[in-house]
Amino acid sequence: MSLESQKDALRRRASATFHSVKPDASSQDTALPADGDSSMPPKQTRWFTWNVTRADWDILIVSTVIKLLLYPSYRSTDFEVHRNWLAITHSLPISQWYHDTTSEWTLDYPPFFAYFEKLLSVPAYFIDPKIVDLQNLNYDSWSVIAYQRTSVIVTELVLATALLRFIPGSVDPSIQRIISATLFLHPGFLIVDHMHFQYNGFMFGILLWSILMARNGNKLASGILFAVLLNFKHIYMYLAPAYFVYLLRAFCLTPGGQVEIKNFLALANAVIGVFIASLGPFAIMGQIPQLLSRLFPFTRGLNHAYWAANFWALVTAVDRVLLRYIQFTGANISVDPAGVASSSRGLVGDTVFAVLPQIKPIHTFVITVFFQLAILVKLWRNPSVKSFLTALTLCGWTSFLFGWHVHEKAVLLILVPLSLLAAERHAYFRTYLIASVAGIFGLFPLIFTPAESVVKVVYSAIWIAGVYGLLSRRVYEYPKSLVYVIIDLCEKAYLAGFIPLLAFVSLMSLRNHRISAAASASSASGSRGHAGSPSGAASGGMEFLPLMVTSVYCSIGLIWAYLRLGSIYLFEESEYQGQLRTIQS
């Protein structure tokens, strides 16, 4: 076989990765590691055998060991937030859950998450009653650290099992295995869950189960699981439009456009049932408005404290640059004094533009809906599983890029579903690579303590290298024309730019460290009040610069990758989707 035809075969195989094979009961039960391992002949117990299940166990053990070693690492206030929720749900009656303000970290997740915390608080009480003591704020003994960190690791098994189940039904299990492994080991989860502290592994586990159900043709279960997920964490509303359109078109309507009344009723009843189970108790107590005010605090600004790498970060940066330009040249353009104040404050407080017109929530809403509509129309016309997954990714992506007060952690909403598409073909892989690198780098500022910073960089670098090494050759395509060659080169240059960016950010943090060390030394040696403040302000401004540069650079990549995927989806998809169209119905 010639090299070319070999490559061609690979590509064809890869392009069909996500194409679902009809689910049957037997293929579903082959993936559980425990079954496979015990039936393995004892001869094969060496670590090197590329046995399916043994490798899965290896991945689980390795990742668990790393997470265990990170127990004492830096934790954000989210750790105390979750501990406080354990205390609230354990020591207060349900009627008080959304009213309590003992701690500033009030309960602001939907009820299922509150129930989940209630469940977790039961063993917590037996391990150390002080964990669930409502007044015991900022409790950080070893017991609570070990307990909460362990709960994250254990609940992440939901993600692990979903990823394992993805393998048997896929067209090319070997590629799906790689994708599953990279998702389980994703640096985003390590940074946000195991250092910063959240339960994203668990949440995305539910999402992946839902997507898996959709792939396997069980759309009802998919819809129910997504409704459950929404009641765990409402940020997944970013994805809801795609779900809505997909389930409506592919489940509630026939391909010809007739209403499938049985399906429709089943789905509607199930989803309403889920919401009643979640919100019912609070509706009876008449607390729905209070609950909603906790879930949707509309008093926040356009950007989160640290700018998420989205469109608004870019716009804000342009505004800041324009302001500097005007201040230097003295050009006759009206400047909003509130914006000047906002820019000198750096990261703190709401963003107010100095030069550009102010952005209101309604603007962001309109832009988001506009882009999402284009995607959803396409999904309506082509409601295949792969199309659904792409639309899901793009929906989340649109919300991330143009939404109001978006958190940097929300980038996982893009990266996780996008990973499932990574090996479809080269164009997808490229998009995935750019988005992953930019997205993960955009998460770096969450972790700013020195030792943990090294961990995040080393881990992410290994992960990216692994992903590239394992997947890139399987999907490689030659650029088709000069335009593609130029785009290819620009993208490579962009990716290479992360290395100097990392060096710049590290050097700046080193510099800030020296400045603050010098400031503390000088303030210790005498005039405390005077020497401290100016140098503090100077270093404050410079502390802001690396964060801004990071945000802007990452947002360029994420916007470009968004346009890339969007144009592939809207304009190019049909050429490549011959096979997948056949399973539309």
Binding site: R46, F48, G466
Partner: protein, 592 residues
């Protein structure tokens, strides 16, 4: 094509993974974290970086000895100086004289962790890679067995926990020792001597290896034919002397030192014979037997009793490593070269060369190099078990040769079994220390990971297994039982040291048996070597049986790998199989 491309990435991936683990464990706590006024080993190392930065040579070994005075040999001091120099460039406050004592800022901690990691990357990891290339060379052993060996050695939990968790620089000393071993195996004895002097100059603990290495070099000199041996001996003496001289130069040369007698300062700091028989609870003979025999009471208090104990421990230690030394020297004498060309032809089984091409035997290492690793193990284990002033961390020294033997052996072979068992028990023996350092979770995690990587399961005992497996099962059950007991019940007030003592009683027998096993292997390999050399090359049947015993007992025998890999590997294996027991297979076959 695809696979070959991936193969180049195996070693970098393994190293990257090891680095990741070390970085992760570095996030956690270390010896003496936040425990003023004295802190722990971390502060000791940091303090040395501080004092070498600011003081002239003559004060290095004399400055404020009460606060972590420097008590390691000069290479540690130079290394500390270099680390302190780089650190001071970044932030001088980390190593400011006196005022920086006990500094524990996140950035200074990161810098300290990085000094260990970079030292690892510069010395220990290259040494390990060199080891796998030297002792598992390409034609006879697959790249897979090399990767396995590298992974086994790199992830060794005891060393990671002590160096990257507790905080020390043992890997530098061990790295130099491995480099010495590799140099000897590549017949670069002078280089090996320099490397070993570097190990000695970094930590005096590597004296535990000295009997083995010294007797190897003596044996080598005996083994060589007449003019070459004297030349080698002279060169070794000169090189060793010169390296020691250079190492200690600043401490006796007048412009730097006030008088040549200043050399006594480092010497008296390095060998503190005024301390007790043992400090903490250590899993060695003295501490374990002290439960029944109160040694201090028998020896009597005071100077006389202490001296008696020193002598007793020195005598026992010497007795402990004597068999290994004798074995090596005897092998050197018994195998001494009379007809170099015959030996050469025997060794080159894979590419038989015509006799006239064969060069002098000095281009190849002597056959008794396979004894050296066992001798290193016997000697260091004997020091650990019987000598004076042993720390629990010193188990790392016997652990190194044992893990080297293990990594080069096939799974389920004797060195592999002992390597797995003793590694686990060694980590367990350091449990009291690791618990104090707050390293309980890494202790469990890294041990489980390593066992998984090497494929060791102490509880998977099947019918008809050997003694080592049963011993492993019993010891592991006892260790887990002790951990559970400690978790549930607090130590009784009458016996506050109950758990450490029980720990010692579990570990010591295993270490003792491993030491005996190494002696036994040494004798067996020596016998195989000596027996072969004395018999003439006329009876192939005898030689076959000898080479078989050699295959079982030398650590570095080739693996009969299951041919699951590529065709090339399979080809290797068949080639090996054809050679085994063939008329040309010789003694050196196992190693070379």
């Amino acid at each position: 094509m695809h696979k070959r491309g991936m193969r180049d990435w195996v070693v970098p991936s393994i190293v990257a993974f090891a680095v990741l683990l070390k970085v992760c464990i570095g996030v956690g706590s270390y010896s003496g974290e936040a425990t003023p006024p004295m802190y722990g080993d971390y502060e000791a190392q940091r303090h040395w970086m501080e004092l070498t930065q600011h003081l002239p040579f003559r004060q290095w070994y004399t400055y404020d000895l009460q606060y972590w005075g420097l008590d390691y040999p000069p290479l540690t001091a130079y290394h500390s100086w270099l680390c302190g120099f780089i650190g001071s460039l970044i932030d001088p406050s980390w190593f400011a004289l006196d005022t920086s004592r006990g500094i524990e800022t996140p950035s200074s901690k990161l810098f300290m962790r990085m000094t260990v990691l970079v030292s690892d990357l510069l010395i220990y990891i290259p040494a390990l890679i060199l080891f796998t290339r030297t002792f598992l060379p390409s034609p006879t052993r697959s790249s897979r067995s090399r990767s396995f060996a590298l992974l086994t050695l790199l992830l060794q939990p005891a060393l990671i926990l002590v160096d990257n968790g507790h905080f020390q620089f043992n890997s530098i000393m061990l790295g130099f020792t491995i480099l010495a071993l590799c140099a000897f195996a590549r017949d670069k004895d002078e280089l090996g001597a320099v490397a070993f002097v570097a190990a000695l100059g970094f930590k005096q603990m590597s004296l535990y290896y000295a009997p083995a290495i010294g007797s190897y070099l003596v044996a080598k000199c005996l083994w060589l034919p007449a003019p070459a041996n004297v030349r080698l001996f002279t060169r070794l003496a000169l090189v060793t002397g010169a390296s020691f001289g250079i190492l200690f130069l600043p401490f006796f040369l007048p412009p730097l030192a006030s008088s040549p007698l200043d050399i006594l300062n480092p010497i008296s700091r390095i060998f503190p014979f005024s301390r007790g028989l043992f400090e903490d609870k250590v899993a060695n003979w003295w501490c374990a037997s002290n439960v029944v025999i109160k040694w201090r009471r028998i020896a009597g208090d005071g100077e006389a009793g202490r001296r008696w104990l020193v002598r007793a421990s020195a005598g026992l230690t010497a007795l402990g490593f004597l068999p290994a030394v004798v074995g090596l020297v005897k092998a050197g004498w018994g195998l001494r070269v009379r007809e170099p060309s015959v030996k050469k032809a025997d060794r080159d089984i894979h590419e038989p060369k015509p006799l006239e091409v064969s060069s002098t035997p000095t281009t190849d290492p002597p056959p008794f190099i396979s004894l050296l690793t066992y001798a290193l193990l016997s000697s260091s284990a004997s020091f650990f078990l019987f000598s004076f002033q042993v720390h629990e961390k010193t188990i790392l020294l016997p652990l190194l040769p044992l893990t080297l033997l293990m990594s080069a052996a096939t799974p389920e072979s004797a060195p592999w079994k002992w390597g797995c068992l003793v590694n686990n028990v060694a980590v367990f023996s350091m449990w009291p220390l690791l618990r104090r350092d707050g390293l309980a979770v890494p202790y469990v995690a890294l041990t489980v990971l390593w066992d998984r990587v090497v494929g060791y399961n102490p509880f998977g005992v099947r019918a008809g297994v050997g003694v080592v497996e049963v011993l492993g099962l019993v010891v592991h059950l006892a260790a887990i039982g002790l951990h559970l007991l400690e978790l549930v019940i607090p130590a009784p007030a009458r016996y506050p040291d109950l758990f450490p003592v029980l720990n010692v009683l579990i570990c010591t027998p295993v270490f003792g048996l491993a030491w005996l096993w190494s002696l036994k292997c040494g004798v067996e390999v020596g016998w195989a070597l000596g027996g072969y050399s004395s018999s003439s090359s006329s009876s192939p049947s005898i030689r076959d049986s000898k080479s078989e015993s050699q295959q079982q007992h030398s650590g570095f025998e080739p693996i009969e790998e299951v041919a699951t890999g590529s065709g090339a590997q399979w080809g290797e294996d068949t080639a090996r199989r054809r050679n085994v027991g063939g008329p040309d297979s010789g003694v050196g076959d196992g190693v070379w």
